[in-house]
């Protein structure tokens, strides 16, 4: 996308196999890049998620345009790399209220903190969950093993 290339000359722009645009920016530019997309008409936040690459975590905000007259409008994925533990990134809920649950889920599953989120809690796992963040690649399930149910058989 040209407008992102102009504003962030050192951002890495790539194209996915289906034509979507990927923009990798630094953590500090992330919010500005999202704002630039918002101003360019990408007012629909499809999803916010993250990818655990084992040495870093990439946060992905997938933004789309909703214009009824337009056919085949592709999505923009704004990405930012974070350290594996204790990663912090600005929240985009002020721009996209629809990103609220997705950011909470990303925190829940990857442990990425979103600064400025209005309700920064776990969402799918219980609030008092102590077992870590399940979608990290090195997650170990520390819960005690449940006894396997064995069907009672009559002695022959």
């Amino acid at each position: 996308m040209d407008f992102l290339q102009e504003k962030f000359p050192d951002a890495q722009v790539a194209t996915q196999v289906n034509g979507d645009t990927e923009v990798l920016v630094t953590k500090d530019q992330y919010l500005n890049a999202v704002k630039a997309c918002y101003d360019a008409g990408y007012t629909f936040c499809s999803v916010v998620s993250a990818i655990d690459w084992k040495d870093r975590i990439t946060v992905v905000a997938s933004l789309a345009r909703i214009n009824p007259a337009e056919v085949n409008a592709r999505t923009i994925h704004v990405k930012a790399d974070l350290p594996r533990t204790g990663g912090r990134i600005p929240s985009i809920v002020a721009l996209y209220p629809g990103a609220n649950f997705h950011e909470r889920e990303t925190y829940d599953m990857y442990g990425v903190r979103f600064e400025g989120h209005p309700n920064h809690r776990r969402i799918l796992l219980p609030d008092n969950w102590q077992g870590g963040h399940p979608l990290l690649k090195d997650f170990v399930d520390k819960r005690p093993k449940r006894p396997r149910l064995v069907r009672y058989r009559y002695a022959e």
């Binding site: 990927e22 209220p97 629809g98």
Partner: protein, 372 residues
């Protein structure tokens, strides 16, 4: 309210703050059905993930399969081509599924606000859809029917039927069902519920959502269209072969209420029936291959893909990352219900507690998909 309140379609807890009978705040508490499908998918091969996608939105599972299967095909790029007949079969089963899903959405919403009879009529007709798809796929509910590169098996003999088939063949042939649906089921819904004055009193002016808010809150599907935004990914970002079919997009009015969302779903069923008829006409004349050539072990090249399709409840999308191994490196499931549920805190305040149930019904959530 919840997690066992009968109107919540599963196990959802709504934390509702009340002033007398009036709701002042509402916060959905989800996660009771959480299975971490995304973590499970990382340990499975691509074909093994398909049955898991069925279990997210179990009311319209074909559309979930379609999303994941097409995303995998996209990862392969040009290497996999899907035969035309398989594409038509995919559209056929997806649209039949959409009709079934909307029937249940309408039935359960009517039941939530006190009309129990329509729910039973909805199951009478949904049962026919189950029987039809059982003959095609072998399973009634969780189909595991679509394959990367095609579909598992061709349609059984005689299931397409004849355009003159009537009500007596509604659970035996697709034409029979569509004719029965258009001539009997749809007019019955309109007469029984939509034109019902009590129903209109309960839903009109309740849960009004402006189109700007709908887009900002990430709403999609009938909720977005109910607010007057003419946006349907089947038209605006056509996947599969949806660009070959003729159909309209029903929309509600600006600032749409529960009744508009109801109308959108009701009209969408008729549009799906239109698509099904076109697909049936093509399928009756064109026999052929149903499975394209795929490698024995599916190892997509390294890459990422984000694939969005129009599901029954809204935009289903999945973000698949491949590292070149037989297992997906990451699967992210964007479920429409999870996103649409964010509207509850926005829509509920100011209404009575009984309206919360109507709003929840009009958003039409499936908890299997919310919690994944």
């Amino acid at each position: 309210m919840g997690p066992q309140h009968p109107s919540t379609h599963g196990v959802l807890r709504l934390m509702v703050k009340l002033d007398g009978e009036t709701v002042t705040a509402c916060d959905p508490d989800v996660g009771y059905l959480h299975r971490c499908f995304e973590k499970l998918a990382e340990g499975k091969t691509y074909p093994q993930v398909i049955p898991f996608t069925d279990r997210t939105d179990y009311i319209g599972p074909m559309l979930n399969e379609l999303c994941f299967v097409e995303a995998t095909e996209k990862l392969f790029g040009e290497a996999i081509t899907v035969p035309e007949r398989a594409q038509y079969i995919r559209v056929l089963v997806s649209e039949i599924n959409r009709i079934g899903s909307h029937l249940l959405a309408l039935g359960s919403m009517a039941m939530d606000i006190g009309a129990v009879t329509p729910f039973l009529y909805c199951w009478r007709d949904k049962e026919k859809i189950y029987s039809l798809l059982e003959r095609v796929t072998g399973t009634r509910m969780l189909y595991n029917y679509l394959r990367v590169g095609g579909v598992r098996n061709d349609l059984p003999e005689g299931i397409i039927g004849d355009p003159s088939d009537g009500e007596d063949k509604a659970d035996k042939t697709f034409w029979g069902f569509i004719n029965y649906f258009e001539s009997y089921v749809y007019p019955q819904w309109v007469a029984l519920v939509t034109d019902n004055r009590i129903f209109q009193w309960r839903t009109q002016g309740v849960g009004c959502l402006s189109s700007a808010d709908a887009i900002a809150y990430g709403a999609s599907g009938p909720v977005l269209r109910g607010s007057g935004v003419k946006w349907d990914l089947r038209k605006n970002l056509p996947n599969s072969i949806y660009d070959r079919f003729e159909f309209d997009i029903p929309v509600g009015k600006e600032n749409g209420d529960c009744f508009d969302r109801w109308l959108v779903r009701q009209e969408e069923m008729m549009q799906s029936a239109r698509i099904v008829k076109q697909a049936l006409k093509w399928l009756a004349e064109n026999p052929g291959e149903i499975q394209g050539k795929v490698p024995r072990i599916l190892k997509p090249p390294k890459g990422e893909v984000y694939h969005r399709i129009e599901g029954a409840r809204g935009e289903i999308a999945c973000y698949v990352v491949s590292d070149g191994s037989p297992n997906p490196y990451k699967v992210k499931w964007r479920s429409p219900c999870f996103t649409n549920l964010q509207l509850m805190p926005k829509l509920c305040p100011g209404h009575k507690i009984a309206d919360v149930v109507a709003i929840l019904g009009s958003i039409d959530i499936v908890l299997g998909e919310v919690d994944r």
